[in-house]
């Protein structure tokens, strides 16, 4: 079965991507599988300058999920371009850079740095990180800001595909989706983590130093599926589904609801070779359920009349 997907000019050999922050710069996972088995991968969030991120502890395990408050620790865009990108350029996989900045102008500047880098297939705009005090989810909760940030990236992206990653921590995600499209987004990826926390009755302290953290993993899949369902019906740009995908069946649920592709996040931690075999598993399952093609299966959800 042909698993190729075309997402507003972003060509993927299959619909499986790995989500930002869960796959490093890709090379960390190279001993466990072939990067070229993926349709694409989203590098961890990068900013103009290096960031040390949040204090420890930063992660906690929860039932069917995990909390994280890493705080966009990264070596900065220059290190990404000079150290990570050269090794990735030769790979037949779409490399998506995830951008984090504190304001629209900085987002534009960051996009400008990457615009000329041929190894970068697309820019994913992170307006939804719940773990940083400045920017982060504050952008993602304000439709006007989402539009402004997207527009700033669009202008400096040099024709590269612009994907905007949306937060579920809003009253109506379709409003945010429309704002991103108005700002010039080619596609939307959703969802980022849900805001959550965990505490310890023995120590009387929060389990994460940042107190509030982002919840991911299978626990959030129903929320993610609902968000994708709502957004694909609200906008005309392709949607990439993210949230709790831990099997081929999970991934196809997002495609059934209307997503063009999926990003796998926390499941990369269950076993480091998980994402590499997912496209093959999806193809097998599509045949089992009698789908004619991936395209025919996409959005074929039968809703009650």
């Amino acid at each position: 079965m042909n698993m190729h997907v075309s997402i507003a000019g972003l060509e993927l050999k299959n619909p499986v991507m790995t989500a930002s922050g869960t796959f490093g710069f890709g090379l960390e996972f190279a001993p466990y599988g072939d990067l070229e088995a993926l349709g694409g991968f989203v590098a961890k969030g990068i900013s103009l300058k290096p960031r040390e991120g949040n204090p420890m502890p930063r992660i906690a395990e929860t039932p069917c999920g995990m909390l994280n408050a890493i705080g966009i620790q990264n070596p900065g865009v220059e290190a990404f371009v000079t150290q990570a990108l050269p090794a990735l350029k030769s790979k037949d996989v779409a490399v998506v850079a995830n951008l984090y900045a504190c304001d629209a102008a900085e987002f534009g500047e960051l996009a400008g740095v990457l615009a000329g880098e041929e190894g970068v297939a697309a820019l994913e705009v992170n307006v939804s990180c719940p773990n940083v005090k400045e920017g982060g989810v504050a952008f993602g909760q304000d439709p006007a800001q989402i539009a402004r940030v997207t527009e700033a990236v669009r202008k400096k992206a040099g024709g590269k595909h612009v994907m905007v990653k949306l937060s579920p921590n809003v009253t109506d995600i379709t409003v945010c989706a429309r704002a991103a499209v108005d700002g010039g987004a080619d596609s939307l990826s959703l969802i980022n983590t849900l805001s959550g926390m965990a505490v310890d009755v023995r120590t009387g302290k929060p389990r994460i130093a940042n107190v509030i953290a982002g919840l991911s993993g299978p626990a959030i899949k129903p929320v993610a599926l609902r968000c994708v369902h709502q957004v694909v019906r609200a906008v005309d740009v392709p949607v990439i589904g993210i949230g709790g995908i831990a099997s081929a069946e999970d991934a196809l649920e997002f495609i059934l609801v209307g997503a063009h592709a999926v990003q796998v996040g926390t499941a990369n931690f269950l076993r480091p070779d998980f994402a590499f075999g997912l496209a093959g598993e999806m193809e097998k399952l599509l045949s089992e359920v009698g789908a004619e093609s991936l395209e025919a299966f996409r959005g074929s959800l039968q809703l009650p009349l």
């Binding site: 796959f23 991120g53 930063r58 395990e61 269950l270």
Partner: protein
């Protein structure tokens, strides 16, 4: 680089250690050894029982205690939900295993080497003494709270010279710290190597004495990890320059003067 570092392997044996005195507190988990090209003492593995399904997501990191002849031995203390469930796993069950991960302890054949273990911190030293090219140059010190039978101390003493101190009551701590200080000073004077593994306060003491006496010392850190491969950034510690670095890939072994504890 091998592409076969993540595999589902069979549990061969689960053996309580020191059971009569401390039921199930410590156990040896023996797994099928995936015939890795090589491993070095101080490295660790990530272990996740297949039966956990989606209930608990993270694999657990454990030092390699010993490996070879088709068996990978992990020495584990039951401290939480994950290790509690691992203690109840049965021979024949499958676990997802990836590794060997991280760096390793320094091995210097002719250098007098002191191993400082705080409790369960003895785990990686079993492999260390088994593989050391000149065990007569190695000495082990164990500070422990539970009965000695809970630890593979006697086994290690079959390879190297050993010394241990039991911490039964709070005032025993002073004796342990004095002994550690004396040993670290001695090894600093003879330009030896000090290798330590144990709880964070234990490691801070090692670091303090190493600085005071100018000893060459390495500490092996244990932090909560989600991936073990350097991607999640959940296990970071600060290096000597104050930068966050991953314990899983930049460690777990650090020179004591190059890390903030």
């Amino acid at each position: 680089m091998s592409l076969r570092n993540c595999r589902d392997v069979k549990v061969l044996q689960v053996s309580p250690v020191g059971r009569s005195e401390t039921p199930d507190e410590f156990f040896e988990l023996i797994l099928e050894y995936p015939d890795w090209d090589g491993w070095k003492p101080g490295q660790f593995v990530m272990v996740r029982p297949v039966s956990w399904e989606l209930d608990m997501l993270w694999a657990r990191p454990f030092s390699i205690s010993s490996a070879g002849d088709g068996r990978l031995t992990l020495f584990i203390q039951k401290v939480g939900r994950g290790t509690g469930r691992l203690a109840r796993i049965a021979p024949g069950d499958m676990v997802t295993l990836w590794g060997p991960l991280g760096n390793s302890f320094a091995v210097e054949k002719d250098t007098p080497t002191l191993l400082l273990a705080g409790g369960i911190g003895i785990a990686p030293f079993r492999g260390y003494v088994e593989r050391h090219p000149s065990p007569k140059n190695v000495q082990l010190f164990l500070a422990h709270r539970l009965p000695l039978a809970c630890y593979p101390y006697d086994y290690l003493c079959g390879h190297v010279q050993g010394q241990c101190i039991l911490e039964e009551k709070p005032e025993d701590l002073d004796g342990i710290i004095d002994a550690m200080g004396g040993l670290i000073k001695e090894y600093a004077q003879k330009k030896g190597l000090v290798l330590a593994c144990g709880p964070t306060p234990f490691m801070r003491t090692v670091q303090r004495f190493a600085r005071e006496f100018g000893a060459r010392a390495q500490v092996s850190l244990e932090n909560r990890m989600a991936c073990g491969v350097g991607a999640c950034l959940g296990c970071v510690t600060r290096d000597g320059e104050g930068h966050h670095v991953q314990v899983c890939t930049k460690g777990p072994v650090f020179w004591a003067d190059k890390v903030e504890l």
